[in-house]
């Protein structure tokens, strides 16, 4: 068994999803609250209705910068990209996330 393991390095990555405790959602003014009646904390933006546009939540950016500080990251100006794919739980059929220029890099 040890012969098989020699020559292999174990690398473990952690993808951590963390809900931010903001008053409102990431791209609109709807309440960021759980447990309410379905379809009550919604608006054209988070429903991805035709014509809607996102507006970034400032508090979420500040939390991200704090996380970056805590993890010794270099905090940088960042941009959002669209990750395009089709899935019924995703109203615009793209995800708005960060790709090649994220807010925090090189942490430990």
């Amino acid at each position: 068994m040890t012969d098989i393991l020699e020559g292999w390095e174990i690398v473990v990555g952690l993808e951590v999803h963390c809900e931010l405790r903001t008053e409102t959602k990431l791209f609109c003014g709807c309440r960021n609250a759980f447990g309410d009646e379905p379809n009550t904390n919604v608006c054209p933006v988070c429903l991805g209705l035709p014509g809607s546009l996102p507006v970034l939540n400032r508090q979420a950016v500040e939390y991200a910068m704090r996380i970056g500080e805590a993890l010794h990251c270099e905090i940088r100006p960042s941009i959002f990209h669209r990750k395009n794919y089709f899935y019924p739980d995703m109203p615009k059929d793209y995800q708005v996330s960060q790709y090649d220029e994220p807010i925090n890099v090189d942490g430990w």
Partner: protein, 471 residues
């Protein structure tokens, strides 16, 4: 009556909003069976709104600068409770639960939205022949197209139904139909008018703007709809510019450059009208010369990578899940496929496929990335030209209005209709088209004035000068 005159008359009590509305509805009823400028006429809503305006005036209130003026709205802008279709089967009958910011501002200014106008499906086209609900006819010659994609809005003004209309311009979709229909059309500086509620085609290129018979009316409408909107992150953080008050200050001493690259491939009679317009500016005291924007020759190519790429992403949401057309399938993948196959027309499908390909792994940088780099070259070449010239001049479209079917056999032939207008969308700067004479066929010719970002007051001054000098 112009919009400026009508608003004055309504506020002075010499006419009523209700009368103006009834006149517009009657004109539409009399002729729109033939023209088909409108997808949906808002008779009840318009009468209710007009009566409310008249009551406020009777109580001594001022309902706003567009009090009682009927206005037509391109059917890619959300109107609460009123069908908003983008002239597509995939949104047929869809009623948005909200108003676009532009619509809210029109209401706040006292305007009466009279109906939703026809367009090329999802604003993709230059003739309004791509509408899923039938084309719009040019009111000046019904065997010819009104241009596109805002053909319905251009026709509504040209036919005399309404003094004002709103369109959107991504590659020329306000200016080209305005030129072909003999009316004034404006693409403002990118970011001047909120896009919240405008159903997106290409987000970095789309802008909302006015159609009118007169430069003064276009200025008034632009002042009403322009200015920062917190709901649109691309909206410039500044108030609407003052244009109307400076309209008649003339062009004395202004340096105007004719963009040489945009005089290629233009019909002789159209080019002649543009040179006559240049002469009119000289006669009015401007200094006219020849300008060069070398990278402008790549405008069409860059646009037909960038715009379809952005469209392929913006139109992904039309999938049959939450609203609009749904064609069922054995599973979700088949439902997605058949819904979109049935719901989208040929040109929309063509651009989605082109755009998806241009963004796909392995090709993203070679196509979309390269097109964006070319776009930067175009922006820089315009900046260099603006170091020598206050304004730039060109024809708006290469031809006068063409016949139905004349350019539908070859998509590239249709795309060439926007060769003069596309560079301004890529650069973001403002551009106005003013009618200036006719071609040999008696059909209207438009001349285009461009200026640096936020130079609307200067662009409109030149537009007003050309309007006064037009044959």
């Amino acid at each position: 009556m112009t919009a400026v005159e009508l608003a004055s008359a309504v506020k002075a009590g010499t006419t009523t909003a209700r009368k103006a509305t009834e006149d517009a509805l009657a004109a539409i009823g009399a002729r729109d069976g033939e023209i088909h400028a409108f997808n949906h006429v808002m008779g009840d809503e318009a009468r209710t709104a007009a009566d409310a305006i008249d009551r406020r005036i009777a109580m001594g209130e001022d309902p706003g600068p567009l009090a009682g003026v009927p206005i037509a709205l391109k059917d890619n802008m959300c109107t609460r409770g009123v069908p908003t279709t983008c002239s597509s089967k995939i949104l047929e009958g869809w009623r948005p639960p909200y108003d676009a910011t532009v619509v809210e501002r029109l209401h706040a200014a006292g305007a009466i939205v009279i109906g939703k106008t026809n367009l090329d499906e999802f604003a993709m086209g230059s003739s309004t022949e791509n509408s899923a609900f039938g084309p719009t006819r040019n009111p000046l010659d019904t065997s010819r197209v009104p241009g596109g994609s805002s053909g319905g809005s251009a026709a509504a003004v040209a036919a005399g139904y309404v003094p004002l209309a709103i369109g959107s311009d991504t590659g020329g979709s306000i200016r080209q139909p305005a030129a072909l229909c003999g009316v004034v059309g404006v693409k403002p500086t990118y970011g001047l008018v909120s896009r919240y509620g405008l159903i997106a085609f290409a987000s970095s290129l789309d802008q909302i703007g006015p159609f009118a018979h007169t430069v003064a009316d276009a200025a008034l409408l632009l002042e009403v709809i322009a200015g920062h909107d917190p709901m649109d992150s691309t909206s410039l953080e500044r108030p609407a510019p003052e244009i109307s008050s400076r309209l008649t200050t003339g062009v004395e001493g202004l340096r105007v450059g004719i963009v040489q690259e945009l005089t290629q491939g233009i019909d002789d009679d159209v080019l002649a009208r543009m040179h006559e317009a240049a002469d009119a500016l000289t006669a009015a005291g401007a200094k006219v010369g020849d300008a060069s924007v070398p990278a402008a020759i790549y405008g069409l190519t860059a646009y037909y990578l960038i715009a379809p790429a952005e469209a392929s992403s913006n139109l992904a949401r039309y999938d049959g899940v939450r609203y609009g057309l749904r064609t069922d399938g054995v599973d979700i993948t088949q439902m997605y496929g058949t819904t979109r196959a049935n719901g989208f027309g040929a040109e929309v499908k063509r651009r989605i496929m082109l755009g998806t390909y241009a963004l796909s792994a392995g090709y993203y940088d070679a196509y979309y990335g390269q097109a964006q780099r070319v776009r930067t070259l175009i922006i820089r070449d315009f900046e260099a030209a603006y170091a020598d010239y206050d304004l730039l001049l060109s024809p708006t479209a290469p031809t006068t209005a063409f016949e139905f079917g004349a350019k539908t056999a070859n998509p590239l032939a249709m795309y060439m209709s926007d060769v003069c207008t596309i560079p301004s969308n890529l650069a973001g700067h403002p551009a106005v088209t003013v009618p200036f004479g006719t071609g040999d066929d008696g059909l209207p010719v438009g001349v285009q004035i461009m200026g640096p970002n936020l130079s609307e007051p200067t662009v409109f001054r030149a537009a007003a000068t050309l309007e006064a000098a037009a044959p």
